[in-house]
């Protein structure tokens, strides 16, 4: 008789779940000589003598012999004799079936509490929160959970439907924190999903028996055996991968690359961010994004990202749904996100979900951790420039948790060491705070509060003081209407401001200030009617208030004439509807439509220009004054988000997507890098919204049990109304900025190759991108045809780019990381000759962006040492030692020309002109 333990287990538990008690008193009496008898023969003998049927794994028991004589024993007594002193367990159910297992025990009964709960309609759950928390305490109990059968729904209630909805939260068993982006999927099937930012998932699964697998980066993979009768909930606790101490492991969501419908999504956990060597030894969220295919930046000290040929302002950077306008500290040496607070980052670069909008290139979604639910913990770190600390824990009860992080620079020594007088007389500092508070009212209602504040100030050449800060706060309420409908309601406020102050000369003392503020609200719903559809719909609205610039005197003696550019107002609203439709398990379609509407509002003074003339100060014809709240100009349009996935085999898939996007707020930057003095500008009566469309196609294949992921993605993008600037444009304090900007059309295309190994002693990724991004300005109305109206490269066009990020684990305590980056130098416009015209010396420049700065190459190395791995230890320390820019290559940051004694000379400025050793000490307590 062939026995299939797994299959029977399910039957067993179904019968158990009826809740009947085991009656052992009616059992037959057994006698026999079982000396030196193979287990298989022993079972045959018993089956002949009784009505019991045995189920076991022959592999487990093929070398097992029984050796005893039984006389008038019950079956239970016989089996006890046979197995006492061994690791073999047995269980007998109501249908006279005997289950024999080695090393683990089968329970044929669930705790009565669970069974009772299972009968409550609408709130059926296999394991309650309390159960799971208690069980998670030991490794053995986790195994027990994995082996137990969870019953979802009530048998016989929903018999008409073939599928049911399973929802639940995935949490960290130790801290109770939500685990985002965990993959939850059924074994041997293509049904699966990913948890949202709250750790919440919704799956449509056929009725019957399944093995549900859950995996997430940095956590141990786990599984649940489930039997589905109807809709229900299942919360899952995952164990931390302990040897890592949150810092040395990548365990991928295996398979998700191939199976996800989305394409062009890059997901990186903080664990892999932390092990990559960085300048000054500090883990940096944005710097790691730069090692992903399709992402570049213009220079070393810049955190402006260029994603697939988009400009830096075309990225929506969200920190727990708060828009961060300036994601950098200290001229871009650091990113605005405290690595101890971040849980993971997701970068959407081709199929952008319809719930996101307002930017053309990408969405970078940075998710903060939710606090430890069980106990107060903290961490701290110190590097050559910054110190940081985090505390987290429950507030009052396990229902409320918080995480608070703070970071500050403590030294100006870097600037003093820069070999340039302008910098050595300078000082710079920054700090940031972030706070997230989570409160779970009950299983259906949760509240999330996020606060973020960052401040940067620097003084260049001890005269002019620059200061900028981000302030963000939002409140989210998540409500589970039913297992099929989940709603998220959000209201928040984001603000970014900078000011420049000079007080040295009291006659000229001035303050130059700028800010952008937005109040926003959003409602987003996810509806999962059945296994084939997942519908997302919602609406949002953003009210913008910008102060584009004010120049005011400081002090009573200042003679500065105040110059204030009118404030700008606008409202951007959108509604969206999207559906993910799994036509077959191997073929999925995801389609979304977003309709956005932008109104530019008064009070405002709008200049009218002579039609058909270049827009210059000369051609201003009229000015029109609008009152407060008057609608000056409205732009609107649909945005399409389409993507499809076809699985060719369990490890090979192809995906295609088409996206259109619209952007109503633009950054005006006449300098090459993203600098704090860049101004944001709303679309107005003259400046049209940027629009873009992207076609992309990808091929994904995984090898070696999904531990090696490879992908090839190609894309083609078109952009309209991309802003470029006239020669010598004045952007600051310009009351009619439309005279200094030009509309361009852009196109970008590229191919991205990626190989990623997520597990093993050696892990990491290597990628290569070929991409171009070109714009042209052929509108004669602008007055000036840049490069004769032909396509020219943008400032951030870098055709070849390759990255290697690798980590090798020598032991659990010692690992080495290496980071290699190469890219073509960015384009530059060079002055190529000097001449005299009209009595003055002038420079003749090449065509715009005709030349390039030298190629970029950098190699970094670091070693990480963990102090020890005792779980009970109160303080865990780790040390990172490394070298940034190992080869000491003087990568060009900027090429500039300066007039010295009437002679013009060219210089190359490198930010890191040498190899930089660093050491960082981190503690957790």
């Amino acid at each position: 008789m062939k026995r299939q333990l797994g299959r029977i287990l399910v039957l067993l538990l179904i019968s158990v779940s009826t809740g009947l008690a085991l009656r052992s008193q009616d059992q037959p009496v057994i006698s026999g000589d079982f000396r030196r008898m193979p287990f298989e023969n022993f079972v045959q003998a018993l089956e002949q003598k009784t009505s019991f049927r045995f189920f076991y794994s022959p592999v487990d028991l093929d070398s097992f012999y029984v050796d005893f004589v039984a006389e008038n024993k019950t079956l239970k007594q016989v089996l006890d004799l046979a197995f006492t002193g061994t690791d073999i367990h047995y269980a007998i159910d109501l249908s006279n079936r005997v289950f024999v297992t080695r090393r683990f025990e089968i329970k044929t009964l669930l705790p009565t509490e669970t069974v009772k709960k299972a009968r409550e309609p609408g709130d059926t759950t296999g394991v309650s929160d309390g159960d799971s928390a208690a069980l998670a305490k030991t490794k053995a109990s986790v195994q027990a959970q994995e082996n137990r059968l969870m019953v979802i729904g009530v048998k016989g209630v929903d018999d008409k439907k073939s599928t049911s909805t399973l929802t639940g939260y995935v949490r960290d068993a130790t801290t109770g924190e939500a685990i985002t982006s965990a993959a939850v999927y059924l074994d041997n099937s293509k049904i699966g999903g990913v948890t949202d930012q709250f750790g919440y998932f919704t799956l449509q699964i056929p009725k019957g028996n399944h093995v549900l697998r859950i995996s997430s980066v940095g956590m141990k993979d786990t599984r649940r055996n489930i039997v589905v009768y109807g809709d229900g909930k299942l919360n899952i606790d995952m164990q931390n991968f302990i040897p890592s101490l949150k810092a040395v492991v990548i365990v991928g969501s295996k398979n998700s690359n191939v199976k996800s419908v989305q394409m062009g999504v890059e997901r990186v956990s903080i664990a892999s961010i932390k092990q990559t060597p960085m300048a000054f030894g500090e883990a940096d969220v944005l710097k790691i994004v730069l090692t992903l295919p399709g992402v570049t930046s213009v220079g070393e000290a810049s955190t402006g990202l260029n994603v697939r040929g988009g400009s830096a302002d075309q990225n929506l950077i969200l920190f727990n749904e708060a828009t961060i306008y300036n994601p950098s500290h200290l001229f871009g040496f650091f990113s605005a996100f405290d690595p101890d607070i971040v849980q993971d980052i997701q970068l959407y670069k081709s199929s952008i979900p319809e719930k996101y909008g307002g930017r053309l290139s990408s969405v970078l979604d940075v998710t903060a951790r939710t606090g430890n639910k069980k106990k107060f913990t903290g961490s701290a770190g110190i590097g050559p420039l910054t110190a940081r600390a985090t505390i987290e824990g429950p507030l009052g009860s396990e229902k409320t948790t918080f995480v608070f992080g703070a970071r500050s620079s403590y030294s100006d020594w870097i600037l003093r060491n820069i070999n340039n007088k302008a910098y050595s007389n300078s000082n710079a500092s920054f700090y940031d705070f972030d706070l997230t508070v989570t409160h779970d009212f009950n299983a259906k209602n949760s509240l999330y509060l996020t606060g973020y504040y960052s401040n940067d100030q620097f003084k260049l050449n001890s005269d002019t003081a620059y200061k900028y800060n981000n302030r963000n706060a939002n409140l989210k309420w998540k409500h589970v209407f039913s297992s099929k409908l989940v709603g998220l309601f959000l209201a928040g406020y984001d603000s970014y401001l900078y000011n420049v102050k000079s007080e040295n000369n009291e006659v000229n003392a001035f303050k130059l200030a700028f800010d952008v503020n937005q109040a926003h609200a959003k409602a987003d719903f996810t509806y999962s009617p059945n296994a084939k559809h997942t519908i997302d719909f919602g609406a949002n609205s953003i009210f913008y208030k910008l102060h584009p610039g004010s120049f005011t005197p400081v002090g009573a003696t200042s003679q500065v004439v105040p110059d204030i550019v009118n404030a700008e107002q606008g409202v951007e609203s959108a509604i969206w509807l999207g559906d993910r439709y799994d036509i077959t398990p191997d073929f999925s379609l995801s389609g979304g439509l977003r309709y956005s509407l932008f109104s530019y509002l008064g009070a405002q003074t709008v200049y009218k220009y002579v039609p058909g003339e270049p827009r210059t100060e000369f051609s201003i014809k009229d000015t029109v004054n609008y009152g407060k709240g008057d609608n000056i100009k409205t732009y609107q349009g649909p945005e399409v988000r389409l993507s499809a996935r076809l699985n060719l085999s369990p490890t090979v898939s192809i995906k295609a997507s088409y996206n259109t996007l619209r952007q109503y707020i633009h950054m005006l930057s006449n300098s090459v890098t993203m600098s704090p003095t860049d101004i944001w500008k709303l679309s107005d009566a003259h400046i049209q919204p940027q629009t873009g469309e992207q076609y992309s196609f990808g091929f994904y294949s995984n090898f070696k049990s999904n531990t090696i992921e490879t992908s090839v993605e190609v894309y083609y993008k078109r952009m309209e109304h991309f802003l470029d600037y006239k020669s010598g444009a004045q952007l600051l304090l310009n009351h009619h900025i439309e005279t200094d900007v030009i509309n361009t059309q852009g196109k970008a295309y590229g191919i991205e190759l990626m190989v990623r190994k997520k597990t093993g002693k050696l892990n990491g990724w290597v990628n290569y991108t070929y991409s171009r991004t070109l714009i042209k300005q052929d509108d004669p109305i602008a007055g000036e045809l840049i490069n004769g109206g032909n396509y020219y490269p943008t400032n951030f066009d870098k055709p070849h780019s390759a990255n290697f990020v690798g980590n090798y684990k020598f032991s659990h305590r010692v690992s080495a990381s290496m980071n290699v980056a190469y890219s073509t130098g960015r384009p530059i416009t060079l002055p190529i000759a000097v001449y005299d015209l009209f009595g003055s010396q002038r420079l003749y420049y090449s065509d715009r962006n005709l030349y390039r700065i030298p190629d970029y190459f950098r190699m970094d190395l670091s070693m990480n040492f963990e102090a020890n791995h005792k779980l009970k230890q109160k303080i865990h320390g780790s040390v990172s030692v490394g070298v940034y820019n190992l080869t000491g290559r003087k990568n060009a940051y900027s090429i500039y020309f300066t007039s010295e004694n009437g002679v013009i000379n060219g210089y190359k400025l490198s930010i890191f002109g040498t190899a930089i050793p660093f050491i960082t000490y981190n503690i957790r307590f």
Binding site: F376, I382, S671, N787, L909
Partner: protein, 374 residues
């Protein structure tokens, strides 16, 4: 668990970060040698001076490379209208021409290296007269404005230049001149060798553009031309400005406007993006070869005004100067070695003297020659 204070180890490496290196990309070092055409063609009967030169390399110490052996002519569809005279040093002079404004003209240049250059078709723009040049003043200084209008609404784009000239005086009037020999060792100055009254002239070197393109009628009202800070030399005695007005085509206005905007200040991390300018002159044998400058034909209108000290509010100007009474045994030291100038005598052996800069107005850059129009 309570949070404990922890002792942290800091090790700071002393390293040098940023570095600046000389950088000369090959394209910057290449000898481009592009032709530069500077000037304008006067259609109003006056002669026209055109300067030809070559671009220099960045880092060159040479201040100018004139194009000396070129041949230049103005032509129409019917052939050459006028030839320029080569004055040497890269200067070419067209004699006075009266050019009708109903036909188009081209400037043809043949350079010594055998290349031929031709301008685009140019039409003659007639410059309307300057209505007035006036000024306003406040405690900061004096601003000078130009006003004009074109009743036919045809001109629209204007460019201005100016020459300014002013009379100024040295602080101390010198009535005698030390001669070093003879007895007495000085002569009285006559009006011819006074060094008290000087005249200084300078030309505008910025580009002044005005436009009425956005206006209903073609009027330029109070276009600011020049600003003179209060209590400076130009209005210390008498000041004069001669404003020149040129009508421009739209294309020419664009060229000059872009040239004006292109920044000449370089060198910081937050540099603006400059870009290229395309003029209206091409090389016939290689149309991709850049030629710098923009040629246009128009008449010139001029208007001169004078401002006397006191006409623009109170004006104080002058340096503190000391007069020393110098005995004969110190004449050599003061007048020969220390470059003092003798100022006056009181009929005694001693002479009054003062530092040359207080006495000799030419040392401040002016000339003693009175301009014709003064």
């Amino acid at each position: 668990m309570k949070i404990k204070l922890c002792i942290l180890i800091i090790i700071v490496f002393s390293v040098t970060f940023s570095c600046k290196e000389k950088y000369d990309p090959p394209v910057v070092k290449a000898n481009h040698n592009y032709l530069v055409v500077d000037g304008f063609l006067n259609s109003g009967g006056d002669s026209s001076l055109i300067l030809l030169s070559r671009t220099r390399n960045l880092g060159d110490t040479v201040t100018s490379i004139p194009e000396t052996n070129a041949v230049m002519q103005l032509e129409t569809d019917g052939g050459a209208v006028s030839f320029a005279t080569n004055l040497g040093g890269g200067q070419y002079l067209f004699p006075g021409m009266s050019l009708p404004n109903n036909i188009s003209y081209r400037l043809r240049i043949s350079t010594a290296d055998g290349k031929e250059y031709l301008s685009d078709d140019m039409t003659v723009k007639t410059t309307p007269p300057i209505d007035s040049v006036n000024y306003t003043y406040n405690d900061k200084g004096v601003t000078i404005y130009a006003n004009t209008h074109d009743p036919s609404n045809n001109t629209r784009y204007y460019r201005y230049e100016y020459d300014e000239t002013w009379e100024y005086h040295s602080n101390i009037f010198s009535e005698i001149k030390y001669t070093g020999a003879g007895n007495p060792p000085f002569v009285y100055r006559t009006g011819d060798d006074w060094i008290y009254v000087c005249y200084r002239s300078q030309k505008s070197h910025k580009i002044y553009l005005a436009s009425s393109a956005g206006l209903e009628s073609d009027v330029i009202y109070q276009f600011p031309i020049q600003f003179i800070a209060r209590n400076t030399e130009p209005i210390s005695v008498r000041y004069s400005i001669n404003v020149k007005q040129y009508a421009l085509t739209k294309e020419a206005a664009n060229y000059w406007s872009n040239l004006k905007k292109t920044t000449e200040e370089l060198g910081s991390i937050f540099d603006a993006q400059p870009s290229q300018l395309k003029g209206n002159i091409r090389c016939l044998s290689d149309t991709t070869l850049p030629v710098l400058g923009f040629m246009s034909i128009s008449s010139v209108e001029k208007k001169r005004i004078f401002i006397l000290r006191g006409e623009a509010g109170p004006w104080t100007y002058g340096e503190a100067c000391m007069v020393h009474n110098i005995p004969p045994d110190s004449f050599h030291v003061y007048f020969d070695l220390w470059q003092y100038e003798a100022v006056s005598t009181h009929g005694l052996a001693n002479l009054d003297g003062a530092q040359a800069s207080c006495v000799d107005c030419t040392l401040k850059g002016g000339t003693l020659t009175k301009p014709d129009f003064w």
